[in-house]
Amino acid sequence: MDEQVNQREEVTLVARKACFGLPTACPSCLPVYIYLKFAQTPFNLDFNLTYPDSDQIPYVESGTYVAYNNEKGGVIESLKEDGIVDLDSEVAGVPDWISTKAVVNTWLADALMYELWVGSNGSSAHKIYFSDLPWPIGKFLYFKQTRITKQLLGITKDNADRREEEIYGKATIAYGALATRLGDQSFFFENRPTSLDAVFLGHALFMLHAFPETSVLRSKLLEHSNLVRYADKLRTEFIEAGSSSSIPPSHADPLSSFARGGTSNWSSKPKSKPKKERTEEEKKFRRRAKYFLVTQLVAVLVFLSLLGGSHDAEVELDDDDYDD
């Protein structure tokens, strides 16, 4: 019975494929992977290779609990809010931490997105997202994503160069600030890993391994040797140290925290209730309207057909006799 419960509560991270020597090469999946590693939560790693344009991926599942990336501000925020894994409890209120995280989540994230889809020749993106899809689908989705990225970053034909300068400029400032903040420490805040470390480490590892040496942004990161050292050290310590593919049976505490965290937070939120009621009413109304229309249509058709004329006669052909 306990084994069954434990099996059901197995944690699985569904992410995009692994390549470039990284456990998962997608820049939005890697921070979640690292976060779970920091928290020393045993988890399985599953891959979804056919849905590159989904904003639901990465997601963490355990039994019937799922934390999607497009809810509550991301998987990491969902895990924190649901009380499953929270590394930021002590720093969450620190203004410095909040602003540093904001810089990483906006300036550096935009720069990475630009470099991946617009600034480079797209070979890295192809390898990560489209190598397991048939060629025509992959090609189309790549162009679609490039167009979406340009729209998000406000890039047009006229301002392309200016925007590139702005994006790279901001990224350079961010790298400098982070290098200063980090100094010689092992982590950014309080000498312990937080979600900021997870997000920046994901960014840095992706920069260093997934882009070719000709990448402008990569060279800007390489100018700060303490950041590079930080990335290599944490990679060796947390990512390459243990494998994530199997769950050791002795680790009961993180699993129970999922179960506990799950049940204790199943209180209904007042904010979502009125919205739910409204949609229920809407659904009922729509259903009733549908039934009414259907009944009217059926009545008319039955009336027409029962009082209709005779059937049309048709010539019956026996083509077989005449086929050669």
Binding site: P134, S267, V315, D319
Partner: protein, 498 residues
């Protein structure tokens, strides 16, 4: 029948008129009733021929074979339509060797030309051949092309592959290039939240082609959120390569996307979400010797559908093998127009390629049993099981649970579980249909029926076939029985059953 032909009896006695506008089928046995005038020799006078001679001729036609040879087939009236198209449809005329065969062939050619749907009227006239060649006849085919090439249509239809009825509106453009080509575009909304926008072209059987071919581009969207928490959208091109009475071969290539906007899907469904390329060849062999597709009382039908997917060299496309078999048999009981219908349907799907035993079968290609369409009428593989809700059979998996749902209990519209379908499906039914005692109901075609059905849906993929045992299979059969009243209307078939 004889009356309508007599009305069109022309004054020229040597001309036999087989006018399509009469619209009555003529067979060999009814020739003696036709008031046709036919003479082998041309008469110069304009008076009617001798009555005795005519009577002699009719007796000869009805009792013995009157030899005849077709000398020439002349085509008139076609401005846009290519001669080759009309010639290929009336080729049967050239093979006729007797008068009886010629008349029968003229009927067939007439119907074939009308079936092309590009002519307003078709007129086949048999004339005597050149005077120096006795025993010959000339055939004159006169066609009137449609003046208005564009037609629109709105109706409620049931397509062969569709699981239910759909409301369809279409625009047709006929004979654009003169090859009998039919271009059409249509918009269809189905009962089960299916919608389809498509455009296609079909070419009839030309001289060079073995059979009619058709091509269709379609954007199909199916909403299965209520039953299995996913939506299916497919953009595809299908080519009908061979289409004859018993055989059908079609190739389909489509880009299919499975998505879950509700974000409530269960684990197995989540694993299937994403894009896929389907490239498949489907062969259908069909024999239907029943006397009616809606209320068969005698005869049998057999359908076998084989589909192989993954025909592009790209290993990343969907690869599977799918086979469906349907067998129906009906025999009459002699009282109250009653008939007993039996039927068995089965289907299996299995992936192929590297690591196929571990792979899951593609979700939209699996079999789902349940729903309300009658198994007596549908011949599209194992689909329906009366008495069970749509997709009601087979394995299910619990959906995602969010905070707040557990305390409120399960939501009222769904059971909180996704239907996953199965890889091996088997259904069987027995149905006894009979007329109701009231005459008014009998005349309207309303009849009653008792039915019993059983079905089973099993998973074979992802190594589940290793655990397969006949005993477990037998134990998981579900069945239902009941009775109902059927009201067939001109447009669809309505059934009320318990």
């Amino acid at each position: 029948m004889a009356v309508s032909v007599e009305e069109h009896q022309k004054e020229q006695p040597q001309v036999v008129d087989d006018d399509d506008d009469n619209d009555e089928p003529l067979n060999g046995e009814e020739e003696e009733e036709d008031a046709e005038d036919f003479e082998e020799e041309e008469e110069e006078s304009e008076t009617f021929p001798d009555k005795a001679k005519m009577e002699n001729l009719f007796r000869r036609i009805s009792t013995e074979r009157v030899p005849l040879r077709v000398h020439d087939v002349l085509i008139k009236g076609n401005t846009k339509t290519k001669d080759s198209l009309i010639e290929s449809e009336v080729e049967v005329l050239k093979n006729a060797t007797t008068v009886q065969e010629l008349i029968q062939a003229a009927n067939v050619a007439n119907a074939r030309l009308r079936r092309l749907e590009i002519f307003d009227s078709v007129n086949i006239t048999l004339d005597s051949g050149p005077p120096e060649l006795p025993g010959t006849a000339n055939v004159i085919v006169e066609v009137a092309e449609t003046k208005n090439p564009i037609t629109g249509d709105i109706g409620v239809f049931s397509k062969p592959e569709a699981r239910s009825w759909s409301l369809e509106g279409s625009l047709k453009l006929k004979n654009l290039f003169g090859f009998g080509d039919l271009w059409d575009s249509s918009l269809a909304c189905g009962w089960d939240q299916t919608s389809e926008v498509s455009a296609g072209v079909s070419l009839p059987k030309l001289k060079r082609l073995a059979s009619p071919i058709s091509a269709r581009i379609a954007l199909l969207s199916q909403d299965w959120l209520k039953f299995s928490s996913y939506k299916d959208r497919a953009l595809g091109l299908s080519l009908g390569l061979v289409s004859s009475r018993n055989h059908e071969l079609a190739y389909n290539v489509s880009w299919r996307t499975l998505m879950d906007p509700s974000q409530m899907a269960s684990r197995s469904i989540r694993r299937q979400l994403g894009h896929g390329l389907l490239s498949s060849l489907k062969y259908t062999f069909k024999i239907d010797r029943r006397n009616s597709p809606l209320r068969p009382t005698r005869g049998y039908a057999f359908v076998s559908t084989s589909q192989i997917g993954g025909l592009v060299p790209d290993y990343r496309s969907l690869r599977f093998l799918r086979q469906e078999l349907d067998l129906r048999y009906a025999f009459p009981l002699g009282f109250y127009n009653a008939a007993l219908n039996f039927g068995v349907s089965s289907g299996v799907i299995f992936p192929w390629g590297d690591g196929f035993s571990n792979m899951a079968s593609s979700l939209p290609e699996r079999f789902f049993l349940g729903g309300n369409s009658s198994p007596v009428c549908t011949l599209g593989g194992p689909m329906t099981l009366l008495g069970f809700k749509s997709r009601g059979l087979g394995l299910t998996e619990p959906r995602r649970q969010i905070r707040g749902n557990s305390s409120d209990g399960s939501s009222e519209t769904s059971s909180g579980r996704d239907s996953l379908g199965g890889d091996l499906a088997l259904t069987a039914f027995a149905d006894l249909s009979f007329d109701l005692p009231l005459r008014v109901l009998r005349d309207a075609g309303i009849h009653g029926h008792f039915f019993a059905c059983a079905g089973n849906l099993t998973k074979l993929t992802e190594n589940a076939y290793r655990d397969f045992s006949f005993q477990k299979y037998h134990e998981s059969v579900r069945s239902s029985a009941g009775f109902g009243i059927i009201v067939p209307t001109k447009l669809f078939r309505m059934e009320v059953s318990a």
